[in-house]
Amino acid sequence: MMKCILTVTALTGQLKNLLEETFDPILVEGEISNLRRPASGHTYFTLKDNQAQIRAVWFKPFPGTQLTPSSRRMACDLEEGMLVVCRGRISVYAPRGEYQIVIDTVEPKGTGALQKAFEQLKARLHAEGLFDERHKREIPFLPSCIGVITSPTGAVIRDILQITKRRFPSVSLLLAPARVQGPEAAPEIVRAIQDMVAFGRADVLILARGGGSLEDLAPFNDETVARAIHACPVPIISAVGHETDYTIADFTADLRAPTPSAAAELVVPSRDDLAGTLFDLRHRMIRSRAHMAESLNREATLLREKLKSPRWMIDDYRLSLDDYDDRMKARLWQQLAHSAAHLHHLKIRLAQGSPRTGHQRIGFLLESSTGNMIAAMRRRIVDARQTLKRNISLLDSLNPLAVLNRGFSITLRRQTKEIIREAAQVRGGEELMIYLGKGQLTASVKSREEDNARYFFAKPGRMNKRTEERDRFDSEIDLPER
Protein backbone atom coordinates (compact mmCIF):
# COMPACT_ATOMS: atom_id res chain seq x y z
CA MET A 1 0.00 0.00 0.00
CA MET A 2 2.84 2.30 0.79
CA LYS A 3 4.46 1.63 -2.56
CA CYS A 4 1.29 2.16 -4.40
CA ILE A 5 1.37 5.52 -6.10
CA LEU A 6 -1.91 7.31 -6.18
CA THR A 7 -3.07 10.01 -8.39
CA VAL A 8 -4.27 13.23 -6.76
CA THR A 9 -7.70 12.42 -7.94
CA ALA A 10 -7.60 8.96 -6.44
CA LEU A 11 -6.28 10.26 -3.14
CA THR A 12 -8.78 12.98 -2.99
CA GLY A 13 -11.51 10.54 -3.84
CA GLN A 14 -10.45 8.28 -0.98
CA LEU A 15 -10.30 11.22 1.43
CA LYS A 16 -13.68 12.36 0.25
CA ASN A 17 -15.25 9.01 0.91
CA LEU A 18 -13.56 8.67 4.25
CA LEU A 19 -14.43 12.12 5.53
CA GLU A 20 -17.90 12.28 4.18
CA GLU A 21 -18.84 8.90 5.59
CA THR A 22 -17.20 9.41 8.92
CA PHE A 23 -18.44 12.88 9.66
CA ASP A 24 -22.11 12.75 8.78
CA PRO A 25 -23.85 14.13 10.66
CA ILE A 26 -21.68 16.19 12.93
CA LEU A 27 -22.27 18.97 15.40
CA VAL A 28 -19.54 21.52 15.60
CA GLU A 29 -19.31 24.71 17.49
CA GLY A 30 -17.29 27.78 16.69
CA GLU A 31 -17.23 31.44 15.91
CA ILE A 32 -18.36 32.79 12.58
CA SER A 33 -15.92 34.81 10.53
CA ASN A 34 -15.54 35.86 6.91
CA LEU A 35 -19.29 35.77 6.49
CA ARG A 36 -20.27 36.20 2.84
CA ARG A 37 -23.63 36.13 1.10
CA PRO A 38 -23.06 36.14 -2.67
CA ALA A 39 -25.80 36.63 -5.17
CA SER A 40 -26.37 32.89 -5.36
CA GLY A 41 -28.25 33.19 -2.04
CA HIS A 42 -25.96 30.69 -0.31
CA THR A 43 -24.19 31.67 2.88
CA TYR A 44 -20.44 31.16 3.27
CA PHE A 45 -18.36 31.63 6.37
CA THR A 46 -15.42 30.28 8.27
CA LEU A 47 -16.03 28.57 11.57
CA LYS A 48 -13.12 28.92 13.90
CA ASP A 49 -11.87 28.70 17.40
CA ASN A 50 -8.55 29.64 18.97
CA GLN A 51 -6.45 27.16 17.09
CA ALA A 52 -8.26 26.02 14.02
CA GLN A 53 -10.75 26.92 11.39
CA ILE A 54 -12.95 25.24 8.87
CA ARG A 55 -14.96 26.50 5.93
CA ALA A 56 -18.71 26.29 6.11
CA VAL A 57 -21.49 26.70 3.59
CA TRP A 58 -25.25 27.03 4.15
CA PHE A 59 -27.00 26.43 0.89
CA LYS A 60 -30.13 28.30 0.02
CA PRO A 61 -33.07 25.92 0.38
CA PHE A 62 -34.48 24.42 -2.77
CA PRO A 63 -37.68 26.05 -3.90
CA GLY A 64 -40.66 24.28 -2.34
CA THR A 65 -38.67 22.86 0.50
CA GLN A 66 -40.60 22.82 3.77
CA LEU A 67 -38.65 25.16 5.99
CA THR A 68 -38.20 24.44 9.60
CA PRO A 69 -38.70 27.53 11.68
CA SER A 70 -35.12 27.47 12.83
CA SER A 71 -33.60 27.16 9.41
CA ARG A 72 -35.54 30.08 8.12
CA ARG A 73 -34.86 32.12 11.15
CA MET A 74 -31.15 31.62 11.22
CA ALA A 75 -30.32 32.01 7.58
CA CYS A 76 -30.50 35.75 7.68
CA ASP A 77 -29.59 36.20 11.27
CA LEU A 78 -25.98 34.99 11.19
CA GLU A 79 -23.51 37.60 12.16
CA GLU A 80 -19.79 37.97 12.14
CA GLY A 81 -18.29 36.79 15.46
CA MET A 82 -21.40 34.89 16.47
CA LEU A 83 -20.86 31.71 18.45
CA VAL A 84 -22.91 28.95 16.88
CA VAL A 85 -23.48 25.23 16.92
CA CYS A 86 -23.72 23.93 13.38
CA ARG A 87 -25.28 20.66 12.39
CA GLY A 88 -24.20 19.26 9.06
CA ARG A 89 -21.72 17.01 7.30
CA ILE A 90 -18.20 17.27 5.97
CA SER A 91 -17.90 17.67 2.23
CA VAL A 92 -14.72 17.53 0.17
CA TYR A 93 -14.49 19.72 -2.93
CA ALA A 94 -12.08 17.86 -5.10
CA PRO A 95 -11.23 20.46 -7.73
CA ARG A 96 -9.71 22.65 -5.09
CA GLY A 97 -8.66 20.05 -2.57
CA GLU A 98 -10.71 21.69 0.09
CA TYR A 99 -13.08 20.36 2.68
CA GLN A 100 -15.88 22.18 4.42
CA ILE A 101 -18.99 21.73 6.46
CA VAL A 102 -22.30 21.76 4.64
CA ILE A 103 -24.73 23.02 7.19
CA ASP A 104 -28.29 21.87 7.85
CA THR A 105 -29.13 23.97 10.86
CA VAL A 106 -27.43 26.54 12.99
CA GLU A 107 -28.29 27.40 16.57
CA PRO A 108 -26.83 30.26 18.52
CA LYS A 109 -24.44 28.88 21.08
CA GLY A 110 -24.33 29.34 24.81
CA THR A 111 -26.35 31.40 27.31
CA GLY A 112 -28.59 34.04 25.80
CA ALA A 113 -28.54 32.30 22.46
CA LEU A 114 -32.30 31.95 22.37
CA GLN A 115 -32.63 35.44 23.75
CA LYS A 116 -30.43 36.73 20.98
CA ALA A 117 -32.44 34.91 18.36
CA PHE A 118 -35.55 36.41 19.94
CA GLU A 119 -34.09 39.89 19.80
CA GLN A 120 -33.10 39.46 16.19
CA LEU A 121 -36.49 38.18 15.10
CA LYS A 122 -38.14 40.97 17.02
CA ALA A 123 -35.93 43.56 15.36
CA ARG A 124 -36.59 42.10 11.95
CA LEU A 125 -40.35 41.88 12.31
CA HIS A 126 -40.41 45.31 13.80
CA ALA A 127 -38.51 46.68 10.84
CA GLU A 128 -40.95 44.88 8.59
CA GLY A 129 -43.82 46.69 10.32
CA LEU A 130 -45.59 43.71 11.88
CA PHE A 131 -45.85 45.48 15.22
CA ASP A 132 -47.08 48.79 13.80
CA GLU A 133 -49.94 50.41 15.64
CA ARG A 134 -51.75 50.94 12.38
CA HIS A 135 -52.21 47.17 12.06
CA LYS A 136 -53.85 46.91 15.47
CA ARG A 137 -57.53 46.10 15.23
CA GLU A 138 -59.98 47.35 17.78
CA ILE A 139 -61.09 44.85 20.40
CA PRO A 140 -64.91 44.69 20.41
CA PHE A 141 -66.45 46.09 23.53
CA LEU A 142 -68.88 43.29 24.16
CA PRO A 143 -68.16 40.24 21.98
CA SER A 144 -70.88 37.66 21.67
CA CYS A 145 -68.40 34.87 21.05
CA ILE A 146 -64.80 34.70 22.19
CA GLY A 147 -62.44 32.33 20.44
CA VAL A 148 -59.81 30.87 22.74
CA ILE A 149 -56.70 29.22 21.35
CA THR A 150 -54.95 27.21 24.03
CA SER A 151 -54.62 23.78 25.48
CA PRO A 152 -58.04 22.25 26.24
CA THR A 153 -56.69 21.05 29.55
CA GLY A 154 -55.06 22.97 32.32
CA ALA A 155 -55.44 26.07 34.37
CA VAL A 156 -55.50 28.56 31.51
CA ILE A 157 -58.78 27.55 29.88
CA ARG A 158 -60.32 27.03 33.32
CA ASP A 159 -59.41 30.56 34.39
CA ILE A 160 -60.77 32.05 31.21
CA LEU A 161 -64.06 30.14 31.48
CA GLN A 162 -64.47 31.13 35.08
CA ILE A 163 -63.71 34.81 34.67
CA THR A 164 -65.85 35.30 31.59
CA LYS A 165 -68.75 33.52 33.27
CA ARG A 166 -68.42 35.69 36.34
CA ARG A 167 -68.16 38.98 34.46
CA PHE A 168 -70.73 38.41 31.78
CA PRO A 169 -72.65 35.15 31.89
CA SER A 170 -74.14 35.41 28.41
CA VAL A 171 -70.87 35.55 26.49
CA SER A 172 -70.17 32.38 24.51
CA LEU A 173 -66.79 30.80 24.10
CA LEU A 174 -65.33 28.71 21.31
CA LEU A 175 -62.16 26.77 22.02
CA ALA A 176 -59.67 25.87 19.31
CA PRO A 177 -57.35 23.37 20.94
CA ALA A 178 -53.64 23.67 20.30
CA ARG A 179 -50.57 22.47 22.06
CA VAL A 180 -48.71 25.43 23.46
CA GLN A 181 -45.37 23.78 24.12
CA GLY A 182 -42.93 21.65 22.20
CA PRO A 183 -41.98 21.43 18.54
CA GLU A 184 -45.55 20.84 17.32
CA ALA A 185 -46.95 23.83 19.16
CA ALA A 186 -46.16 26.51 16.57
CA PRO A 187 -47.81 24.80 13.59
CA GLU A 188 -50.84 23.86 15.74
CA ILE A 189 -51.27 27.42 16.89
CA VAL A 190 -51.03 28.67 13.34
CA ARG A 191 -53.65 26.16 12.24
CA ALA A 192 -55.93 27.00 15.17
CA ILE A 193 -55.84 30.68 14.26
CA GLN A 194 -56.66 29.87 10.65
CA ASP A 195 -59.48 27.50 11.70
CA MET A 196 -61.00 30.14 13.94
CA VAL A 197 -60.99 32.61 11.09
CA ALA A 198 -62.42 30.05 8.69
CA PHE A 199 -65.18 29.04 11.13
CA GLY A 200 -66.03 32.69 11.49
CA ARG A 201 -68.01 32.72 14.69
CA ALA A 202 -65.64 34.40 17.10
CA ASP A 203 -65.63 38.21 17.38
CA VAL A 204 -62.29 38.19 19.12
CA LEU A 205 -59.52 35.67 19.73
CA ILE A 206 -57.42 35.01 22.78
CA LEU A 207 -54.15 33.19 22.29
CA ALA A 208 -53.23 32.00 25.75
CA ARG A 209 -50.73 30.01 27.72
CA GLY A 210 -49.26 30.13 31.19
CA GLY A 211 -45.82 31.47 31.90
CA GLY A 212 -42.61 29.60 31.38
CA SER A 213 -38.98 29.80 30.44
CA LEU A 214 -37.88 31.31 27.20
CA GLU A 215 -37.57 27.78 25.81
CA ASP A 216 -41.12 26.96 26.92
CA LEU A 217 -42.43 30.07 25.20
CA ALA A 218 -40.62 29.28 21.96
CA PRO A 219 -43.84 28.70 19.98
CA PHE A 220 -44.94 32.23 20.83
CA ASN A 221 -41.66 33.57 19.58
CA ASP A 222 -42.00 31.69 16.34
CA GLU A 223 -42.07 33.70 13.18
CA THR A 224 -44.84 31.61 11.59
CA VAL A 225 -47.06 32.25 14.61
CA ALA A 226 -46.28 35.96 14.44
CA ARG A 227 -47.23 36.03 10.77
CA ALA A 228 -50.45 34.08 11.40
CA ILE A 229 -51.39 36.59 14.08
CA HIS A 230 -50.55 39.45 11.75
CA ALA A 231 -52.66 37.95 8.96
CA CYS A 232 -55.63 37.19 11.23
CA PRO A 233 -58.60 39.47 10.34
CA VAL A 234 -60.25 38.87 13.72
CA PRO A 235 -58.87 41.00 16.57
CA ILE A 236 -56.54 38.86 18.63
CA ILE A 237 -55.32 39.23 22.18
CA SER A 238 -52.11 37.52 23.26
CA ALA A 239 -52.09 36.27 26.81
CA VAL A 240 -48.85 34.50 27.32
CA GLY A 241 -46.66 34.21 30.35
CA HIS A 242 -46.80 36.02 33.58
CA GLU A 243 -46.76 39.76 33.65
CA THR A 244 -43.18 40.48 32.62
CA ASP A 245 -42.53 38.10 29.75
CA TYR A 246 -43.06 39.63 26.37
CA THR A 247 -43.19 37.33 23.35
CA ILE A 248 -43.16 38.06 19.65
CA ALA A 249 -46.83 37.07 19.71
CA ASP A 250 -47.43 39.83 22.27
CA PHE A 251 -45.89 42.42 19.99
CA THR A 252 -47.82 41.24 16.97
CA ALA A 253 -51.20 40.81 18.61
CA ASP A 254 -53.78 43.60 18.58
CA LEU A 255 -53.70 43.69 22.36
CA ARG A 256 -51.36 42.17 24.89
CA ALA A 257 -52.66 40.91 28.18
CA PRO A 258 -50.14 40.05 30.88
CA THR A 259 -51.95 36.84 31.79
CA PRO A 260 -54.82 34.71 30.47
CA SER A 261 -57.00 35.88 33.34
CA ALA A 262 -56.26 39.49 32.47
CA ALA A 263 -57.18 38.77 28.85
CA ALA A 264 -60.53 37.40 29.97
CA GLU A 265 -61.16 40.52 32.02
CA LEU A 266 -60.07 42.82 29.20
CA VAL A 267 -62.28 41.21 26.62
CA VAL A 268 -65.43 40.84 28.70
CA PRO A 269 -66.89 43.88 30.40
CA SER A 270 -68.49 43.41 33.77
CA ARG A 271 -72.20 42.90 33.32
CA ASP A 272 -72.89 44.42 36.70
CA ASP A 273 -70.91 47.56 35.84
CA LEU A 274 -72.76 47.90 32.55
CA ALA A 275 -76.12 47.33 34.15
CA GLY A 276 -75.23 49.98 36.71
CA THR A 277 -74.24 52.46 34.01
CA LEU A 278 -77.34 51.68 32.00
CA PHE A 279 -79.57 52.10 35.03
CA ASP A 280 -77.92 55.41 35.79
CA LEU A 281 -78.36 56.66 32.22
CA ARG A 282 -82.00 55.63 32.14
CA HIS A 283 -82.64 57.26 35.44
CA ARG A 284 -80.96 60.50 34.38
CA MET A 285 -82.84 60.52 31.09
CA ILE A 286 -86.23 60.04 32.74
CA ARG A 287 -85.43 62.60 35.41
CA SER A 288 -84.31 65.19 32.91
CA ARG A 289 -87.47 64.69 30.89
CA ALA A 290 -89.58 65.08 33.98
CA HIS A 291 -87.61 68.17 34.82
CA MET A 292 -88.15 69.55 31.37
CA ALA A 293 -91.87 68.83 31.47
CA GLU A 294 -92.09 70.57 34.81
CA SER A 295 -90.25 73.66 33.66
CA LEU A 296 -92.31 73.83 30.46
CA ASN A 297 -95.44 73.57 32.50
CA ARG A 298 -94.29 76.41 34.68
CA GLU A 299 -93.50 78.48 31.65
CA ALA A 300 -96.88 77.74 30.10
CA THR A 301 -98.64 78.82 33.27
CA LEU A 302 -96.69 82.04 33.26
CA LEU A 303 -97.56 82.68 29.65
CA ARG A 304 -101.18 81.90 30.26
CA GLU A 305 -101.24 84.46 33.01
CA LYS A 306 -99.68 87.00 30.75
CA LEU A 307 -102.11 86.32 27.95
CA LYS A 308 -104.86 88.98 27.72
CA SER A 309 -108.43 87.98 27.17
CA PRO A 310 -109.80 88.76 23.68
CA ARG A 311 -112.24 91.22 25.27
CA TRP A 312 -109.29 93.21 26.56
CA MET A 313 -107.74 93.20 23.21
CA ILE A 314 -110.90 94.51 21.58
CA ASP A 315 -111.01 97.34 24.09
CA ASP A 316 -107.43 98.12 23.38
CA TYR A 317 -108.14 98.22 19.70
CA ARG A 318 -111.08 100.49 20.26
CA LEU A 319 -108.99 102.89 22.24
CA SER A 320 -106.33 102.84 19.60
CA LEU A 321 -108.90 103.43 16.91
CA ASP A 322 -110.28 106.46 18.74
CA ASP A 323 -106.85 107.76 19.29
CA TYR A 324 -105.99 107.40 15.64
CA ASP A 325 -109.26 109.08 14.70
CA ASP A 326 -108.55 112.04 16.95
CA ARG A 327 -105.06 112.39 15.77
CA MET A 328 -106.12 112.17 12.19
CA LYS A 329 -108.77 114.90 12.62
CA ALA A 330 -106.40 117.13 14.52
CA ARG A 331 -103.89 116.76 11.80
CA LEU A 332 -106.49 117.56 9.20
CA TRP A 333 -107.60 120.72 11.06
CA GLN A 334 -104.03 121.73 11.50
CA GLN A 335 -103.51 121.44 7.81
CA LEU A 336 -106.68 123.35 7.01
CA ALA A 337 -105.70 126.11 9.40
CA HIS A 338 -102.29 126.24 7.90
CA SER A 339 -103.74 126.46 4.43
CA ALA A 340 -106.15 129.18 5.50
CA ALA A 341 -103.32 131.18 7.04
CA HIS A 342 -101.33 130.78 3.94
CA LEU A 343 -104.26 131.87 1.83
CA HIS A 344 -104.74 134.88 4.04
CA HIS A 345 -101.11 135.75 3.75
CA LEU A 346 -101.30 135.47 0.01
CA LYS A 347 -104.38 137.70 -0.01
CA ILE A 348 -102.56 140.33 1.99
CA ARG A 349 -99.62 140.24 -0.32
CA LEU A 350 -101.97 140.46 -3.26
CA ALA A 351 -103.77 143.39 -1.69
CA GLN A 352 -100.47 145.13 -0.94
CA GLY A 353 -99.59 144.82 -4.57
CA SER A 354 -102.88 146.50 -5.77
CA PRO A 355 -103.18 150.27 -6.54
CA ARG A 356 -105.88 150.68 -3.91
CA THR A 357 -103.53 149.77 -1.20
CA GLY A 358 -101.86 153.17 -0.62
CA HIS A 359 -105.16 154.87 0.03
CA GLN A 360 -106.32 152.09 2.26
CA ARG A 361 -103.11 152.17 4.23
CA ILE A 362 -103.38 155.85 4.89
CA GLY A 363 -106.96 155.32 5.92
CA PHE A 364 -105.86 152.44 8.14
CA LEU A 365 -103.03 154.49 9.67
CA LEU A 366 -105.35 157.39 10.30
CA GLU A 367 -107.84 155.10 11.86
CA SER A 368 -105.29 153.49 14.11
CA SER A 369 -103.72 156.85 15.07
CA THR A 370 -107.09 158.19 16.05
CA GLY A 371 -107.70 155.11 18.08
CA ASN A 372 -104.35 155.43 19.78
CA MET A 373 -104.97 159.05 20.51
CA ILE A 374 -108.32 158.33 22.07
CA ALA A 375 -106.93 155.55 24.15
CA ALA A 376 -104.06 157.77 25.35
CA MET A 377 -106.48 160.50 26.28
CA ARG A 378 -108.59 158.05 28.19
CA ARG A 379 -105.57 156.87 30.09
CA ARG A 380 -104.66 160.45 30.90
CA ILE A 381 -108.14 161.19 32.19
CA VAL A 382 -108.14 158.10 34.36
CA ASP A 383 -104.73 159.05 35.73
CA ALA A 384 -105.84 162.61 36.41
CA ARG A 385 -108.90 161.42 38.21
CA GLN A 386 -106.87 159.18 40.42
CA THR A 387 -104.42 161.98 41.20
CA LEU A 388 -107.31 164.25 42.01
CA LYS A 389 -108.81 161.68 44.31
CA ARG A 390 -105.50 161.21 46.08
CA ASN A 391 -105.06 164.98 46.44
CA ILE A 392 -108.56 165.45 47.74
CA SER A 393 -108.01 162.96 50.53
CA LEU A 394 -104.63 164.53 51.20
CA LEU A 395 -106.31 167.91 51.32
CA ASP A 396 -108.92 166.50 53.56
CA SER A 397 -106.33 165.40 56.05
CA LEU A 398 -104.66 168.77 55.92
CA ASN A 399 -107.89 170.72 56.34
CA PRO A 400 -107.55 172.74 59.59
CA LEU A 401 -111.21 172.30 60.14
CA ALA A 402 -110.66 168.60 60.39
CA VAL A 403 -108.09 169.26 63.18
CA LEU A 404 -110.59 171.53 64.94
CA ASN A 405 -113.11 168.77 64.86
CA ARG A 406 -110.68 166.72 66.85
CA GLY A 407 -110.83 169.34 69.70
CA PHE A 408 -108.03 171.68 68.77
CA SER A 409 -108.74 175.37 68.29
CA ILE A 410 -107.10 178.24 66.46
CA THR A 411 -106.53 181.50 68.27
CA LEU A 412 -106.29 184.78 66.33
CA ARG A 413 -105.67 188.39 67.33
CA ARG A 414 -109.04 189.80 66.74
CA GLN A 415 -107.83 192.95 65.04
CA THR A 416 -105.01 191.66 62.87
CA LYS A 417 -106.19 188.07 62.35
CA GLU A 418 -102.70 187.03 63.23
CA ILE A 419 -102.43 183.44 64.50
CA ILE A 420 -101.28 183.26 68.07
CA ARG A 421 -98.65 180.59 68.61
CA GLU A 422 -97.05 181.80 71.85
CA ALA A 423 -98.45 183.38 74.96
CA ALA A 424 -95.83 186.10 74.64
CA GLN A 425 -97.56 187.37 71.48
CA VAL A 426 -100.50 188.79 73.40
CA ARG A 427 -100.96 191.32 76.06
CA GLY A 428 -103.45 191.20 78.95
CA GLY A 429 -106.99 192.39 78.02
CA GLU A 430 -106.32 191.93 74.32
CA GLU A 431 -109.23 190.51 72.35
CA LEU A 432 -108.79 187.17 70.67
CA MET A 433 -110.90 185.20 68.23
CA ILE A 434 -111.02 181.44 68.95
CA TYR A 435 -112.13 179.22 66.17
CA LEU A 436 -113.52 175.83 67.27
CA GLY A 437 -114.54 172.81 65.33
CA LYS A 438 -117.99 174.23 65.21
CA GLY A 439 -118.55 177.97 65.78
CA GLN A 440 -116.27 180.66 67.18
CA LEU A 441 -115.65 182.55 70.34
CA THR A 442 -114.48 186.05 71.09
CA ALA A 443 -112.35 186.15 74.24
CA SER A 444 -110.08 188.52 76.08
CA VAL A 445 -106.82 187.62 77.75
CA LYS A 446 -107.09 187.46 81.54
CA SER A 447 -103.58 186.36 82.26
CA ARG A 448 -100.76 184.62 80.50
CA GLU A 449 -98.04 182.17 81.32
CA GLU A 450 -95.21 181.94 78.87
CA ASP A 451 -94.30 178.42 79.93
CA ASN A 452 -96.78 175.51 79.65
CA ALA A 453 -94.68 173.29 81.97
CA ARG A 454 -96.97 173.84 84.85
CA TYR A 455 -99.89 172.59 82.94
CA PHE A 456 -98.16 169.30 82.22
CA PHE A 457 -96.01 168.75 85.35
CA ALA A 458 -97.71 170.61 88.27
CA LYS A 459 -100.75 168.30 88.22
CA PRO A 460 -99.42 164.76 88.06
CA GLY A 461 -102.87 163.39 88.94
CA ARG A 462 -104.41 164.66 85.74
CA MET A 463 -101.33 163.77 83.90
CA ASN A 464 -101.51 160.23 85.12
CA LYS A 465 -105.11 160.06 84.18
CA ARG A 466 -104.29 161.16 80.69
CA THR A 467 -101.53 158.67 80.46
CA GLU A 468 -103.89 155.92 81.50
CA GLU A 469 -106.37 157.06 78.92
CA ARG A 470 -103.71 157.10 76.29
CA ASP A 471 -102.55 153.66 77.31
CA ARG A 472 -106.04 152.38 77.14
CA PHE A 473 -106.44 153.98 73.75
CA ASP A 474 -103.20 152.47 72.56
CA SER A 475 -104.18 149.07 73.79
CA GLU A 476 -107.53 149.44 72.08
CA ILE A 477 -105.72 150.25 68.90
CA ASP A 478 -103.28 147.46 69.41
CA LEU A 479 -105.93 144.90 70.12
CA PRO A 480 -106.99 144.10 66.57
CA GLU A 481 -103.42 143.58 65.64
CA ARG A 482 -102.88 140.86 68.25
Binding site: E138, P140, F141, L142, C145, G147, P152, T153, I157, R158, L161, K165, P169, S170, V171, S172, L173, L174, L175, A176, P177, A192, D195, M196, A198, F199, R201, R271, L274, A275, T277, L278, L281, R282, R284, M285, S288, R289, M292, L296
Partner: protein, 74 residues
Protein backbone atom coordinates in the same frame (compact mmCIF):
# COMPACT_ATOMS: atom_id res chain seq x y z
CA UNK B 1 -68.76 45.52 13.60
CA UNK B 2 -71.93 47.24 12.54
CA UNK B 3 -73.43 50.41 13.93
CA UNK B 4 -75.73 48.56 16.24
CA UNK B 5 -73.19 47.24 18.74
CA UNK B 6 -73.79 47.33 22.43
CA UNK B 7 -70.96 49.79 22.89
CA UNK B 8 -72.28 52.16 20.22
CA UNK B 9 -75.72 51.99 21.74
CA UNK B 10 -74.36 52.80 25.18
CA UNK B 11 -72.29 55.69 23.81
CA UNK B 12 -75.28 57.06 21.94
CA UNK B 13 -77.47 56.71 25.01
CA UNK B 14 -74.94 58.61 27.06
CA UNK B 15 -74.86 61.41 24.48
CA UNK B 16 -78.63 61.61 24.53
CA UNK B 17 -78.73 61.79 28.31
CA UNK B 18 -76.13 64.55 28.35
CA UNK B 19 -78.04 66.53 25.75
CA UNK B 20 -81.30 66.13 27.62
CA UNK B 21 -79.62 67.21 30.82
CA UNK B 22 -78.04 70.24 29.22
CA UNK B 23 -81.53 71.47 28.30
CA UNK B 24 -80.30 72.75 24.95
CA UNK B 25 -82.81 70.74 22.94
CA UNK B 26 -86.17 72.05 21.82
CA UNK B 27 -89.21 70.30 23.20
CA UNK B 28 -89.72 68.42 19.98
CA UNK B 29 -86.09 67.36 19.73
CA UNK B 30 -85.99 66.37 23.34
CA UNK B 31 -89.04 64.17 22.92
CA UNK B 32 -87.40 62.52 19.92
CA UNK B 33 -84.18 62.09 21.85
CA UNK B 34 -86.04 60.64 24.78
CA UNK B 35 -87.80 58.17 22.55
CA UNK B 36 -84.51 57.10 21.00
CA UNK B 37 -82.90 56.90 24.42
CA UNK B 38 -85.62 54.61 25.72
CA UNK B 39 -85.25 52.41 22.67
CA UNK B 40 -81.49 52.21 23.13
CA UNK B 41 -81.74 51.49 26.80
CA UNK B 42 -84.19 48.65 26.05
CA UNK B 43 -81.80 47.21 23.48
CA UNK B 44 -78.92 47.42 25.91
CA UNK B 45 -80.92 45.93 28.75
CA UNK B 46 -81.99 43.10 26.49
CA UNK B 47 -78.39 42.41 25.61
CA UNK B 48 -77.39 42.46 29.25
CA UNK B 49 -80.18 40.10 30.17
CA UNK B 50 -79.41 37.48 27.55
CA UNK B 51 -78.59 34.42 29.56
CA UNK B 52 -77.60 31.85 27.02
CA UNK B 53 -73.96 30.90 27.33
CA UNK B 54 -72.45 28.37 25.00
CA UNK B 55 -69.02 26.88 25.47
CA UNK B 56 -67.91 24.83 22.50
CA UNK B 57 -64.80 23.30 21.09
CA UNK B 58 -63.77 23.52 17.47
CA UNK B 59 -63.20 20.15 15.82
CA UNK B 60 -61.80 19.26 12.47
CA UNK B 61 -63.91 16.69 10.71
CA UNK B 62 -63.79 15.17 7.28
CA UNK B 63 -66.36 17.56 5.91
CA UNK B 64 -64.65 20.53 7.51
CA UNK B 65 -64.78 22.44 10.77
CA UNK B 66 -67.49 21.84 13.34
CA UNK B 67 -68.13 22.85 16.90
CA UNK B 68 -69.34 20.73 19.73
CA UNK B 69 -70.21 21.44 23.31
CA UNK B 70 -67.29 21.71 25.67
CA UNK B 71 -67.73 20.94 29.33
CA UNK B 72 -66.83 23.76 31.61
CA UNK B 73 -66.04 21.31 34.35
CA UNK B 74 -62.58 20.61 32.99
Amino acid sequence: MGKDTFENNMTRLEEIVKKLESGELSLEDSLKAFEEGIKLSRLCTKKLNESERKVEILLKQEEGLASTSFSEEV
